[in-house]
């Protein structure tokens, strides 16, 4: 492999891995010394001219982009995964561990009232379901987890959730020093 070909490979890798378009200066800084950056860029541009990915220069900086004529193959509604809020994650965990459980019981465990959307969101995501009604005054609805919940989290069954001792053993559950009482900050 010739020196130029080797440098072309490095240039490809650099442009591929970069999170932003790269200008000549930063490219030169990462390439072996004494390489002809103009020549290399031209080579790469030619190499990829008819490929599914092209080398383009935007605002004086270089990057790979998918070929514009393939745009309609790239289209698909993008469901960017959203982070589940802390409240929702915690609620989900409590339901998983304490099912069947009523809304009031969840609130008691969390120590705060549940905002309207939280249960809806978990129901919509298909992770929880209505289990039945508690035989107590008001006959409140109880919640539990679904099969999708098990599938999504790769659990064989609900019994596979680690118990408190196991959480402790795995280092997840840590005894909290008494100084923190009242600050509500249980982060280790």
């Amino acid at each position: 492999m010739s020196k130029v070909e080797k440098e072309v490979r490095i240039l490809e890798a650099l442009l591929f891995a970069a999170s932003d378009p790269l200008d000549r200066k930063s490219l030169v800084a990462q390439l072996p010394v004494n390489c002809n950056i103009e020549l290399l860029l031209e080579r790469v541009r030619e190499l990829y001219a008819d490929r599914g990915v092209n080398l383009v220069c935007v605002a004086g900086r270089w990057c790979f982009r998918t070929a514009p004529d393939l745009a309609h193959f790239m289209q698909r509604e993008v469901t960017m995964p959203r982070r589940l809020s802390r409240a929702a994650t915690e609620t989900l965990a409590i339901i998983a561990y304490h099912q069947p459980i009523t809304r009031a019981e969840i609130e008691e465990i969390r120590g705060v009232s549940l905002s309207r959307g939280t249960l809806d969101l978990l129901l919509q995501a298909g992770w929880i379901r209505l289990r039945g009604r508690r035989r107590t005054p008001g006959r409140p609805v109880t919640y539990g987890t679904t099969i999708s919940f098990l599938e999504y989290f790769g659990l064989e069954d609900i019994e596979s959730l680690p118990g408190l001792d196991e959480l402790k053993a795995a280092g997840l559950l840590q005894p909290m020093p008494p100084e923190n009482i009242g600050e509500g900050d249980a982060e280790p």
Partner: protein, 265 residues
């Protein structure tokens, strides 16, 4: 650390002084593995008897150097001493339990298995690791195809959330017991009902409620009762007297002309 390469010859091994550095090992099995690697390159051929002797010498050496030896190292030493005796004695007494050979085979297996896992870990770390040796696309154009999961949450997150909740819970479950202390209102009520029966000077102590269990409650009751007498004195229903600082306080009904002789019951 015991260097474990390039020492194939038994004589060389035998003549090598044992380097004692307990900190270099993660437990007795690790130390045994290191010793075994000195003994032979091929772990399938370890002599457990020889290994036992080396280990015992190693512990003895550490003892002479007055190094602190963790209990599990000593347990292993005791076990190996026992194993050694089992291996050396003719297998005449047919007691139950595994024979010396079986015990030795099992130990050899454990050492080989740990060695194998350690090699595997080294090999794995020598792979082309993502983010270290090979890199993913730095700026994916965001076409995230077929990602049916709308939420990005892992089981770890769920467990973490639960653990955090429990941790908070354990820490904050501070039940404050209702304190059975005598309130000023109660003292006022009590004194009001008693006031008619105090024609002459009595010590304040006598008007404390019954059922006081400790000094703490006693002092609290005394304070509230005093506060109540002050209030009643202010409104002219009682008289208070104290002859010197810290001396007992005395109480007496205030004689009011209008009530004179009428309210004694």
């Amino acid at each position: 650390m015991v260097k474990n390469s390039s020492e194939d010859s038994d004589t060389l091994v035998a003549s090598m002084p044992l380097v004692v550095d307990l900190d270099g090992y993660e437990g007795p099995l690790d130390a045994l593995l290191a010793l075994a690697r000195r003994q032979q390159v091929d772990l399938t051929q370890i002599s457990i008897l020889e290994l036992a002797e080396q280990y015992l010498a190693f512990i003895e050496n550490a003892r002479q150097l007055r190094l602190e030896i963790a209990a599990d190292y000593l347990v292993m030493a005791a076990w190996l001493a026992y194993l050694k005796s089992r291996l050396l004695l003719p297998n005449s007494q047919c007691d139950e339990g595994p024979s010396g050979q079986e015990m030795a085979a099992r130990l050899a297996f454990q050492i080989r298995r740990l060695g194998a896992m350690r090699n595997a870990a080294e090999q794995l770390m020598g792979f082309n690791l993502l983010g270290r040796d090979v890199f993913a696309r730095g700026a994916p154009e965001g076409v995230n195809i077929i990602r049916s999961n709308v939420y990005d949450v892992s089981l770890y997150d769920v467990l973490r959330a639960y653990a955090d909740n429990r941790t908070r819970e354990e820490g904050s479950r501070l039940s404050i017991e209702p304190r059975a202390l005598f309130s000023v209102d109660e003292a006022l009520e009590r004194l009001t009902s008693l006031v008619g029966r105090i024609p002459d000077w009595e010590t304040l102590e006598r008007f404390l409620p019954s059922g006081i269990r400790n000094d703490h409650e006693h002092r609290a009751a005394l304070a509230t009762t005093l506060a109540a007498t002050l209030e009643m004195t202010r409104s002219g229903r009682l008289l208070l007297r104290q002859s010197a600082p810290f001396s007992p306080i005395h109480v007496r009904r205030a004689k009011r002309d209008s009530e004179n002789g009428s309210d004694d019951g």
